[in-house]
C-alpha cells in the first residue's frame, strides 16, 4: 500500500457543530464536536478527537480551516479601534458611500455605522491626478502631526489616497511616516489590499481589512499556540472568500479575504461531490435553519463575483458568488393582513426553533409542516439531536390553518409551496437573470432541509437531475480538505486602448508572477506546480462597467492584444446582445489568479451489491398534495443503502444529517459515493 504519510484535514466551524473531515491512509472519514464560543477551542477539541481516533503519532500534513471569526467581528462590530488617513477633502467618502439608502420605502432605515468614526478619519494634504501624476506632494510634517494626534488611541491604521492604484508612492510615504510615529501599529495600504479604481469600495474594503487585522491576528495566535502544543507542527491554512485556501500568514495580513469563508466551503464541497459524480454544470442549494444559499457552478468552475457586502458594507474582493434568501427549516409562516400566506424571512432559528423542537417555540415553521406531512420521523430523533413533537407541530400549523378554514395538511402543504416559491426565485436569480438556462444543470441540494425540497424544486425549474449528497453535514469540511491554494491579484490601469502594449501586459503579468510564486511558496505550495490565469478588465470608452476577458499565460505579442479586443467584443455580444467593434476601448485593469492545485483526497465510497431492502425501516404515510393525498411510503436508513441500489418512488431516506424525499414520478439511485441521484420524470399532466 502506498498510503501517504500523515493525514489531510478540513475543519468547518458552524453555529452548532464543528465538523472535521480527514483523509488518512487512503480513507476519508468525518467527525463532529460541539462548537464553542471561542472558535479555536472547538477546533482544538476536534483535532484532539482526531488524535484519539488515529493515535497521537500521526502527522497532520495540512489542516484547512473555514472560520467565521472575521465575519462575526463585522456583524457584531467588534473590531479594533482604527484610524483612516485619506486625501484632504475626502474623509467622508467612507460615510457617504454611494449616496444611496438601504431601503426605498423605509423612512427609518439606517445605514451601517462607519467602521471608522469621523474623529479618526484624517485628511492628508496630498493629491494625485487621474494618470497617477503628483498634483500636490505629501505634506510630511502634516502626516507626523496627524500620527501624533492618534498615538495611543488606535490599534490599526488604514491609508486610502485617491488614485493610489496608479501610483502607490504617496501611500508608501505615509506608511513609513506612520511606522516611525506609531511603532507597533499595523498600517494597511489600499494600494496593497485593492489597487482598483472607485474610491468608496476601495476605502470600505481597506478599512475593514485594517480593523480586522488585530482581531484575526489574535485568533490565529491562540489557534497556533493550541496547535503548537502538539508533538509535531501542523501546517494551518484558511479558506478564503474566493473559494481557495490562504496561509495563516496571508490571512493575518489581509483578513478581509476571510469574510465569506463560510459559504465558500459548502459550495466547494458540493463541487467536489458533483465533479466526482461526473457533473460539470451544477446549481447548489444549501438550506439550513434560517436561510438558503444558492450558487452556480458552470463547466466545473465556481463562479466568483467581484464584490459582496458584509453587514451592509461592500467588500470588493473576488468571492464565491452566493445568493442568500430567508428560506430555511425555521422560517415562520403567517397570514398577512390581506389573507395571503407568507413564509419567512423571519425565522425561529435553532432557539427556540420550530414548535416541534419543544423548546418553547410556538410559531409554525417549515420543519413543522414537514413533520405534519409525514416527511420527518415522528416522535423520533432528527439528526440524533432531539425527538420531534408531532402534537406541537399540529398545534402550530393550526394557527395559520384555522383562520382561513384549511385542514392541517392543506396548510402545511401550502407552507412548503410558498417557501419553495421563494427558493425557486433565488435559483432563477442566479441563473435566468444572468442569461443562463438552469434546465441543463443538476441541482445539488444539501443542508439540513435541502434534501426535502430538492426534487420538488428541480421539477418546478425543469431541472430534472437532482443530487442529494452523502455526508451532507460535513460537506463544507470536505470542501476545505481538498481546496486549492488560490491567490487573486488585481490592478487598475485606466488606459485608452492604443496605449495597451504587449510589453506593458508582460511587465504586469511578470510582477504578479513573481509575487504569486513567493506567496504560494510561503503557503507551502511546491515550486512550479502552480498555474496562472491572467485576464483583462475591458470596456467601451464612456461606459461605467467592464468585462473580464481572460488571456493565455505565456509570451505576449501584438496578436495577444488584438485577440483580447476581439474576445471582448464577442463576450459583450454574448452577454448583452450587441457589440460595437468600431467603438474605442479602454483597459480598466489587469487581474491574475494564481492556483496551486493540491492533492484531492478520495471521497468515501459506499459498498455496492445487495438490495436496498437491507436498509428498510417501517413505512409511514406521507402527504403529497391535494391531488395525490396521503401515500404509504417505504422508508430507508441511508447508512445501510448499497451503491447501485434503486429506490422506489415515492420513498423517504433517513440519514444522520438530513432526511431525503423522493416524490412520486421520480427515479432514484444510490451512486458509488452514497449520493442519491434523482431523475424527475417529465410531467404528464
Amino acid at each position: 500500500m502506498n498510503s501517504e504519510p500523515g493525514a489531510l484535514v478540513g475543519v468547518d466551524v458552524g453555529g452548532t457543530f464543528t465538523d472535521l473531515v480527514y483523509c488518512h491512509a487512503g480513507t476519508t472519514r468525518s467527525l463532529k464536536v460541539p462548537s464553542t464560543p471561542r472558535q479555536e477551542e472547538g477546533l482544538l477539541a476536534a483535532v484532539d478527537a482526531l488524535e484519539d481516533e488515529l493515535g497521537p503519532r500521526v502527522v497532520l500534513r495540512r489542516l484547512v480551516h473555514g472560520t467565521t471569526v472575521a465575519t462575526n467581528a463585522v456583524l457584531e462590530e467588534s473590531w479594533a479601534a482604527t484610524a483612516l488617513l485619506t486625501t484632504e477633502g475626502f474623509r467622508d467618502v467612507l460615510e457617504i458611500g454611494r449616496q444611496d439608502r438601504p431601503s426605498l420605502y423605509d423612512l427609518f432605515a439606517r445605514r451601517p455605522r462607519p467602521v471608522v468614526p469621523r474623529g479618526l478619519r484624517l485628511d492628508v494634504p496630498e493629491r494625485l491626478d487621474h494618470r497617477g501624476r503628483v498634483v500636490r506632494p505629501v505634506d510630511e510634517d502634516g502626516v507626523r502631526r496627524l500620527a501624533r494626534g492618534i498615538r495611543g488611541s488606535v490599534e490599526s491604521v488604514a491609508v486610502v489616497l485617491l488614485f493610489s492604484f496608479l501610483n502607490d508612492g504617496h501611500e508608501r510615504t505615509v506608511r513609513s511616516l506612520l511606522e516611525e510615529e506609531l511603532p507597533g501599529v499595523p498600517v494597511t495600504l489600499s494600494s496593497e489590499v485593492l489597487p482598483e479604481v472607485r474610491e468608496y469600495e476601495r476605502t470600505s474594503t481597506t478599512v475593514l481589512s485594517a480593523a480586522l487585522r488585530p482581531v484575526v491576528a489574535k485568533y490565529l495566535e491562540r489557534l497556533s499556540a493550541g496547535l503548537g502544543k502538539r508533538s509535531r507542527p501542523v501546517p494551518l491554512l484558511l479558506m478564503s472568500s474566493a473559494g481557495g485556501v490562504l496561509s495563516a500568514q496571508e490571512a493575518a495580513r489581509s483578513p478581509v479575504g476571510l469574510l465569506l469563508s463560510g459559504p465558500a466551503g459548502g459550495v466547494e464541497g458540493a463541487r467536489r461531490v458533483g465533479t466526482a459524480a461526473g457533473l460539470s454544470d451544477m446549481i447548489t442549494l444549501d438550506m439550513g435553519g434560517t436561510s438558503a444559499d444558492v450558487a452556480l457552478i458552470a463547466g466545473g468552475e465556481l463562479q466568483r463575483s467581484p464584490e459582496r457586502t458584509v453587514g451592509g458594507r461592500p467588500v470588493r474582493l473576488p468571492a464565491v458568488d452566493v445568493h442568500t434568501v430567508g428560506a430555511g427549516g425555521g422560517s415562520i409562516a403567517r397570514l398577512d393582513g390581506g389573507g395571503a400566506l407568507r413564509v419567512g424571512p423571519q425565522s425561529a432559528g435553532s432557539h427556540p426553533g420550530p414548535a416541534c423542537y419543544s423548546r418553547g417555540g410556538t410559531s409554525p415553521t417549515v420543519t413543522d409542516a414537514h413533520l405534519v406531512l409525514g416527511r420527518l420521523p415522528r416522535g423520533r430523533t432528527l439528526g440524533g439531536l432531539l425527538p420531534l413533537n408531532t402534537a406541537a407541530a399540529h398545534a402550530a400549523i393550526a394557527r395559520v390553518a384555522g383562520p382561513v378554514g384549511l385542514s392541517a395538511e392543506e396548510a402545511a402543504w401550502g407552507i412548503l409551496q410558498v417557501v419553495e416559491a421563494t427558493m425557486e426565485q433565488a435559483i432563477r436569480v442566479m441563473s435566468v437573470q444572468r442569461g443562463i438556462d438552469p434546465r441543463g444543470f443538476t441541482l445539488i441540494a444539501f443542508g439540513g432541509a435541502g434534501p426535502l425540497h430538492g426534487a420538488a424544486l428541480g421539477a418546478k425549474l425543469g431541472m430534472h437531475r437532482i443530487l442529494l449528497p452523502a455526508h451532507a453535514g460535513a460537506l463544507s469540511a470536505l470542501g476545505l480538505m481538498g481546496a486549492d491554494l488560490v491567490l487573486p491579484f488585481v490592478r487598475s490601469l485606466l488606459l485608452p486602448w492604443p496605449e495597451v502594449l504587449p510589453t506593458l501586459l508582460d511587465q504586469m503579468v511578470e510582477r504578479f508572477r513573481v509575487e504569486a510564486t513567493r506567496r504560494l511558496a510561503s503557503a507551502g505550495a511546491e515550486g512550479g506546480t502552480h498555474q496562472l490565469f491572467p485576464a483583462a478588465d475591458i470596456r467601451y470608452r464612456g461606459q461605467s462597467f467592464e468585462l473580464t476577458v481572460p488571456f493565455p499565460d505565456g509570451e505576449l505579442c501584438a496578436a495577444t492584444v488584438d485577440n483580447l479586443a476581439r474576445d471582448f467584443h464577442c463576450r459583450h455580444e454574448r452577454l448583452y446582445g450587441y457589440s460595437s467593434p468600431e467603438d474605442p476601448l479602454e483597459l480598466v485593469g489587469l487581474r491574475l489568479t494564481a492556483v496551486a492545485p493540491t492533492e484531492k483526497p478520495p471521497l468515501p465510497r459506499t459498498p455496492g451489491g445487495g438490495d436496498v431492502g437491507v436498509g428498510a425501516l417501517p413505512p409511514r404515510p406521507v402527504y403529497f398534495g391535494p391531488e395525490r393525498g396521503w401515500i404509504s411510503c417505504p422508508v430507508f436508513d441511508r447508512a445501510l443503502l448499497p451503491a447501485g441500489g434503486s429506490l422506489p418512488s415515492p420513498s423517504i431516506v433517513e440519514g444522520n444529517d438530513s432526511t431525503c424525499l423522493i416524490p412520486p414520478h421520480t427515479d432514484a439511485e444510490v451512486d458509488q459515493y452514497g449520493n442519491l441521484l434523482l431523475e424527475v420524470r417529465p410531467w404528464t399532466q
Binding site: 477633502g89 475626502f90 474623509r91 467622508d92 467618502v93 460615510e95 457617504i96 454611494r98 449616496q99 444611496d100 439608502r101 426605498l104 420605502y105 423605509d106 423612512l107 427609518f108 439606517r110 445605514r111 491626478d129 487621474h130 498634483v135 485617491l162 479604481v197 472607485r198 474610491e199 468608496y200 397570514l335 398577512d336 393582513g337 390581506g338 389573507g339 395571503a340 400566506l341 407568507r342 413564509v343 382561513v404 384549511l406 392543506e410 402543504w413 401550502g414 409551496q417 410558498v418 416559491a421 421563494t422 426565485q425 432563477r428 435566468v432 437573470q433 444572468r434 442569461g435 485606466l494 464612456g542 461606459q543 461605467s544 462597467f545 452577454l575 448583452y576 446582445g577 450587441y578 460595437s580
Partner: protein, 517 residues
C-alpha cells in the same frame, strides 16, 4: 383564490417583473441605466391594471399605469409583437427623458396582459445636453415628444420612425442600444408569462391578477381604516414660490388626497403631470402605512387623488415638466408626509433635503477635443425621526441613484473634484438632529464649461418636526482661486472659466423634537 396560490403567484409575477428589469439593466448601453439603474419594469392585467412591478426608483412607482392606459386609449387594436413607445408627459409619460415601452401578451388569440419597461435616457434632444433645461418655458424646448406610437407592429420594426427619433437626439448610438434593451425587457416579460400559462393556465393567471389586486386593496383598506375620520392640511413651496397644498381626508377605508389650492402651472420646468403627482402620493402612503410589500392597482383603489387640471400638480400641455419629476415630486412628498404627521406623528420623519440637486456639466474636453456631457444628482440630509437622527449625504424619497466615483469622474471628464464631504452642522437641530447635506467642489480644468443646475431648497428650508429645527438650505458657489466669487442660480446655466470651481452644498434634513431636551 386561496392564500397559498395567492402567495405563490405573487412571488412568480414579482419574479417576472424583476427578470424584465434585470434584462433591461444587463443589455442597456448607457451608464445611467446600467450602473445607476434609472429604470423600472411592470406587469399589468389585460385592462391595464397594475399587477406587479420592479421599480428601482420610487418616482416610477405610480406613473407606469398612466403609460399603459395612454397606450390602450391610443390603440384599440393590438396584435402579438406590437410595441408602443411613448414619452409624452401629457399622454402617459412623466418627463421626456423617461421613455416607456408597452407591449401586450396574448394567449390563444386573447389578450392576457401587458408588460411595460421604462428607462431614463441620457438625452432626448432639446435646448441643453441631458434634456433637463432649467430655463425652458414650454415643453417643446425640453426635447423630442413621442406620443404613443407603435414602433414595432406584429414584430416588425418601423425603421422610419426609429430614424426620426434618433435624428433628434445628441447621442443616437447610445439611444439605439438602450431602446434595444427595453425591447429585450418587454420580450422577457412576454416569454415568462407564456411559461406561467403553460404551468398554471391562462384562466388561473387572470383570476390571480384580480385576486392579487383584491388582496392589495384589502390590505390598504385595513391600513386606512386605522386612521381616525378627519382632515389634515399642509403646504410648502419651491424657492420661486410655487406652492403645493394638500388636504387629506380620511373616511373609514378611503382616503382623499386633495391638492386644491396649489399654484397654477408655471412657465418654468417644475410642473408635474398627474402621473408624477400620483407617484409621489403613493410613495408617501406606502412609506408611512407600509401596507403591503408589493402594491398594485388594487392598493390605490381606496385612494382618491384630486389635482386640479392646469395646476402645478396636474400640468397640461404645453407646460415644461422636466423638473416636475425631479424637484416638485420631492415637495409633493414633503406636503403629504407633513399632513400625515398630524395624524401619525410617530411614523413621519422631519423633512429630507427635498431636492435632487441635478447638475449637468458640458463642454469640449481639451484632452481629446471631443464634446462631453456629465450629469449627476447629489444626496443631502434626511429628516430626523422619533427613533433617531437623519441619515447624512444620501438620496431621499423619490430617487435613489448612485453617485459618480471621483476616480471614475476624473478619468472620464476634464474635471477635478476638490472636496466631497458632509456639511457639518447643516442638519436641523433637535432632540434628534437632521442628517447633514453634502459639499462637492468640482474644478473645471483647462477649458470653459457650461454648467446647469436644477435644484431647490436654496431659500426654503426642510422643515423640522415635533419642535425640531429646519435643516440648512443649500448653497452653490462659484470659486475662483479658492475664493468664493458668487452665488450660482439654483435653476439656471452659467459658463465657468478654466480653473473655476463650482461648489455645491446640499440642504440638511430637519431635526426632530426640541433641541433642549
Amino acid at each position: 383564490m386561496d392564500p397559498v396560490s395567492l402567495s405563490v403567484l405573487e412571488s412568480a409575477l414579482a419574479g417576472v417583473a424583476k427578470e424584465m428589469s434585470e434584462a433591461l439593466v444587463r443589455t442597456a448601453y448607457s451608464p445611467n441605466i446600467k450602473e445607476r439603474r434609472d429604470c423600472s419594469c411592470a406587469l399589468f392585467d389585460e385592462g391595464g391594471g397594475l399587477v406587479a412591478q420592479a421599480e428601482n426608483i420610487p418616482v416610477h412607482l405610480g406613473a407606469m399605469p398612466f403609460s399603459v392606459r395612454a397606450a390602450v386609449e391610443a390603440f384599440p387594436d393590438w396584435a402579438p409583437g406590437d410595441v408602443v413607445v411613448l414619452n409624452d408627459p401629457f399622454a402617459g409619460g412623466a418627463h421626456l427623458p423617461d421613455i416607456t415601452f408597452v407591449a401586450p401578451s396574448f394567449h390563444d388569440g386573447q389578450r392576457l396582459a401587458f408588460v411595460a419597461a421604462r428607462a431614463h435616457h441620457a438625452d432626448v434632444g432639446g435646448m441643453t445636453p441631458g434634456s433637463l433645461p432649467a430655463t425652458a418655458t414650454e415643453i417643446f424646448q425640453e426635447g423630442l415628444i413621442i406620443p404613443p406610437v407603435k414602433l414595432w407592429r406584429s414584430g416588425a420594426l418601423n425603421e422610419d420612425l426609429l430614424r426620426l427619433v434618433l435624428a433628434n437626439v445628441r447621442t443616437p448610438r447610445e439611444r439605439r442600444g438602450d431602446l434595444q434593451a427595453q425591447l429585450a425587457a418587454v420580450n422577457t416579460g412576454i416569454r415568462r408569462l407564456e411559461e406561467l400559462v403553460t404551468r398554471h393556465s391562462a384562466e388561473h393567471l387572470r383570476q390571480g391578477f384580480s385576486a392579487l389586486q383584491a388582496h392589495a386593496e384589502r390590505t390598504m383598506r385595513a391600513a386606512l381604516v386605522q386612521l381616525p375620520f378627519g382632515q389634515w392640511e399642509f403646504a410648502d413651496c419651491l424657492d420661486e414660490g410655487t406652492r403645493v397644498q394638500v388636504r387629506l381626508q380620511a373616511a373609514g377605508e378611503e382616503l382623499t388626497v386633495d391638492f386644491s389650492g396649489s399654484s397654477p402651472q408655471t412657465a418654468a420646468p417644475v410642473n408635474a403631470p398627474l402621473a408624477v403627482t400620483a407617484s409621489a402620493v403613493y410613495f408617501s402612503l406606502r412609506a408611512v402605512l407600509d401596507p403591503c410589500s408589493s402594491p398594485n392597482a388594487g392598493a390605490w383603489r381606496p385612494v382618491n387623488i384630486l389635482a386640479p387640471a392646469g395646476s402645478v400638480v396636474n400640468a397640461t400641455h404645453p407646460a415644461p415638466v422636466s423638473g416636475g419629476n425631479l424637484e416638485l415630486s420631492q415637495r409633493i412628498v414633503d406636503v403629504v408626509l407633513g399632513a400625515l404627521a398630524q395624524v401619525l406623528p410617530e411614523r413621519v420623519p422631519a423633512a429630507a433635503q427635498g431636492t435632487m440637486n441635478n447638475l449637468t456639466i458640458g463642454g469640449v474636453d481639451p484632452r481629446t477635443d471631443e464634446a462631453y456631457t456629465f450629469y449627476e444628482t447629489l444626496g443631502g440630509g434626511c429628516g430626523a425621526h422619533a427613533d433617531g437622527p437623519g441619515e447624512s449625504g444620501v438620496h431621499s424619497h423619490m430617487t435613489n441613484t448612485l453617485n459618480t466615483p471621483v476616480e471614475a469622474l476624473e478619468a472620464a471628464y476634464p474635471l477635478r473634484v476638490e472636496r466631497y464631504e458632509l456639511r457639518q452642522g447643516s442638519g436641523g437641530r433637535g432632540r434628534f438632529t437632521g442628517g447633514d447635506g453634502l459639499r462637492r467642489d468640482i474644478r473645471v480644468l483647462e477649458h470653459t464649461a457650461t454648467v446647469s443646475l436644477l435644484a431647490d431648497r436654496r431659500q426654503g428650508r426642510p422643515y423640522g418636526r415635533a419642535g425640531g429645527e429646519p435643516g440648512a438650505p443649500g448653497e452653490d458657489m462659484l470659486l475662483i482661486d479658492g475664493e468664493e466669487k458668487r452665488l450660482l442660480p439654483a435653476k439656471g446655466t452659467v459658463q465657468v472659466p478654466p480653473g473655476g470651481t463650482i461648489s455645491l452644498r446640499t440642504p440638511g434634513g430637519g431635526g426632530y423634537g426640541p433641541p433642549t431636551e
